[in-house]
C-alpha cells in the first residue's frame, strides 16, 4: 500500500518535471523561431521604411517649390511673374504627384503597423490559458509574420469556411501554423502554391495547410513528428517544429496528421475541438 503511494508521488513528480521540460522546450523553440523571423521581418520593414523616408525628402522639395510660389505672391511684380514661377516648378506635376506620394506613404506606414502588431500578437508569451479565439485572425497574424519567408516561394490561397470561436491558446496555435507554413515554403523548390483551408465539422474545427512541394516519402512520413528528425542542412532546421506542433495540438485535445504524395505535395490537417472538455481530470 505504502509503496504504491510512493510510486504514485514519484510518478507525479516525474510527470511534472516532464511537463516543465516540455514547456521550456516550447519556449526556447518559440524564441528561436522569433529570432529566425526577426531577419525576415527586418526585411519586410526595410522596404516600406525605405520608400517612406525617401518620399519625405521628395515632399520637402515639393514644399520648397510651392513656398517659392506662395512667397512670390507678395513680392512678384505682375501676375505673369507668378505664372512663370508656377510653370517653372512644374506645379501640375507636383499637385498630382503629391496625392500619390501621400497615399503610398500611408500604405507603407499601414504595412509597418500591421507587421508590428502581428509580431506583438504572435509573441504573446504571458497568456497561456485557453480562451475562445478567432482562428482566421490567428492565421492572418501568422501570415503577416512569415510573409517574408513565403512571398518569394509561393502564392497563398485562402479557402476559409465559417468558423466559430475556438477554445485554444491562440499564440500556440499560431506557432503550429507558422511551423507548417515555413515547412511548406521550404518544400517548394521554385515557386509554388500554399493553400490554407478551414472548415467547421460538428464539434470540430479543421485547418489544412497544403503545398505543392516535393512531398515526403512513405518511409519518412512516419518519422516527421519525431523530435530532431530533419532532412534540412545544419543551421536550417532543428527538427523540432513538427514535434512541438504535435505536442501543442495534443495539449488541445486535437489531432495533426500528414498526407503526402512525393513529387506532388503535402497536406497537413489539424483537427481541434471547438470546446475544450472540462479541465482537471486528464492524465
Amino acid at each position: 500500500m505504502k509503496e504504491a503511494a510512493i510510486a504514485q508521488t514519484e510518478n507525479e513528480r516525474l510527470n511534472a518535471k516532464l511537463e516543465q521540460a516540455n514547456r521550456q522546450l516550447l519556449q526556447s523553440e518559440k524564441l528561436a523561431a522569433i529570432g529566425q523571423l526577426a531577419a525576415g521581418v527586418a526585411h519586410e520593414i526595410n522596404n516600406p521604411v525605405g520608400y517612406i523616408y525617401s518620399n519625405l525628402q521628395s515632399l520637402e522639395g515639393y514644399l520648397n517649390d510651392i513656398f517659392r510660389l506662395t512667397d512670390a505672391v507678395d513680392s512678384a511684380r505682375s501676375l505673369e511673374d507668378l505664372q512663370l514661377i508656377k510653370k517653372n516648378i512644374d506645379y501640375d506635376y507636383l499637385r498630382s504627384d503629391l496625392k500619390d506620394l501621400l497615399a503610398e506613404s500611408r500604405e507603407g506606414i499601414d504595412r509597418v503597423k500591421t507587421i508590428i502588431s502581428a509580431m506583438k500578437d504572435f509573441s504573446h508569451i504571458e497568456d497561456e490559458e485557453f480562451k475562445p479565439a478567432d482562428l482566421h485572425r490567428g492565421i492572418e497574424t501568422t501570415l503577416n509574420v512569415v510573409n517574408n519567408e513565403l512571398k518569394y516561394k509561393a502564392e497563398i490561397i485562402r479557402d476559409f469556411g465559417d468558423l466559430p470561436e475556438i477554445d485554444c491558446i491562440i499564440s500556440q496555435i499560431n506557432q503550429v501554423i507558422m511551423n507548417l507554413l515555413v515547412n511548406a515554403a521550404h518544400a517548394i523548390e521554385e515557386f509554388g502554391k500554399i493553400t490554407i483551408r478551414t472548415r467547421h465539422e460538428g464539434e470540430q474545427a479543421i485547418i489544412e495547410i497544403e503545398d505543392n512541394g516535393k512531398g515526403i516519402s512513405p518511409e519518412n512520413l512516419n518519422r516527421i513528428f519525431e523530435p530532431f528528425y530533419t532532412t534540412k542542412p545544419i543551421g536550417k532546421g532543428t527538427g523540432l517544429g513538427l514535434s512541438l506542433s504535435f505536442n501543442i495540438v495534443e495539449k488541445h485535445k486535437g489531432r495533426i496528421e500528414a498526407l503526402s504524395t512525393p513529387g506532388h505535395g503535402t497536406c497537413f490537417r489539424i483537427t481541434l475541438p471547438v470546446n475544450q472538455p472540462e479541465q482537471g481530470n486528464d492524465g
Binding site: N46, G50, S54, Q57, L101, F191
Partner: protein
C-alpha cells in the same frame, strides 16, 4: 538620352525612386516584373541598371547576370533590404555589381552612386570610342605604308623625293 532601368517587385519603391531621380532629367524605366525588364533590354540601351535582390520569380543577381550578357556596358547596382554577406558576395562575384546599396537608402547616396556609375559608363564608352579611333587610324597608316612600299617597288627612289622649303621638288642630284 541617358537611360536607367529600375527593377523591384514593390511598386511603391519604384515610385519613390522615380520621384527622387526626376530632377536629374534621366529617362527612368521601372519594372515590377523581371520578365518585362528582360524584354526592355532588347529594346533600349541602358547606362545603369538597378535591381532589388529578393524578387518572386528570379533573384536580382540572376537578373543582373542576364543583363550583363545582354548589355555588358550597362553598369549594374543592387538595392536590397537583405543585407547578408552571402548575398553581397554573390552579387559581386557573379553579377559584377558596381555598388550594393541597402534599404532604407539615403537619397543622396543613391543619386551619387548612379552619377558615378554614369561617369564610369561614359568613361567606358569614351575608351571604346578612342580604341576604335585608334584602330581606324592604325589601319589607315598601315594602308599608306603599304602604298609607299608598292610605289617604291614600282619606281625605286620615288618615295625619297627631296623637297625645298617651299615644297617644290628638288631635281638636281649633286
Amino acid at each position: 538620352m541617358t537611360r536607367i532601368q529600375l527593377v523591384d517587385d514593390e511598386p511603391n519603391i519604384l515610385s519613390s525612386l522615380r520621384r527622387l531621380l526626376k530632377p536629374q532629367g534621366w529617362q527612368v524605366d521601372t519594372f515590377t516584373q523581371v520578365e518585362d525588364a528582360l524584354g526592355a533590354l532588347l529594346e533600349h540601351e541602358y547606362a545603369v541598371i538597378i535591381s532589388d535582390y529578393q524578387m518572386p520569380t528570379a533573384d536580382g543577381v540572376t537578373y543582373l547576370q542576364f543583363a550583363k550578357q545582354k548589355q555588358p556596358d550597362a553598369i549594374r547596382l543592387v538595392l536590397s533590404a537583405y543585407g547578408d554577406r552571402a548575398s553581397m558576395i554573390k552579387a559581386i562575384n557573379q553579377a559584377e555589381v558596381y555598388r550594393y546599396l541597402s534599404k532604407p537608402w539615403d537619397d543622396y547616396e543613391v543619386v551619387a552612386a548612379i552619377k558615378s556609375a554614369l561617369d564610369l559608363y561614359q568613361l567606358h564608352k569614351e575608351n571604346q570610342r578612342l580604341r576604335e579611333e585608334n584602330d581606324r587610324q592604325r589601319a589607315e597608316l598601315k594602308a599608306r605604308e603599304e602604298e609607299l612600299l608598292r610605289l617604291e617597288a614600282d619606281s625605286p627612289g620615288i618615295t625619297r623625293v627631296r623637297r625645298d622649303a617651299d615644297g617644290s621638288v628638288i631635281l638636281n642630284h649633286d
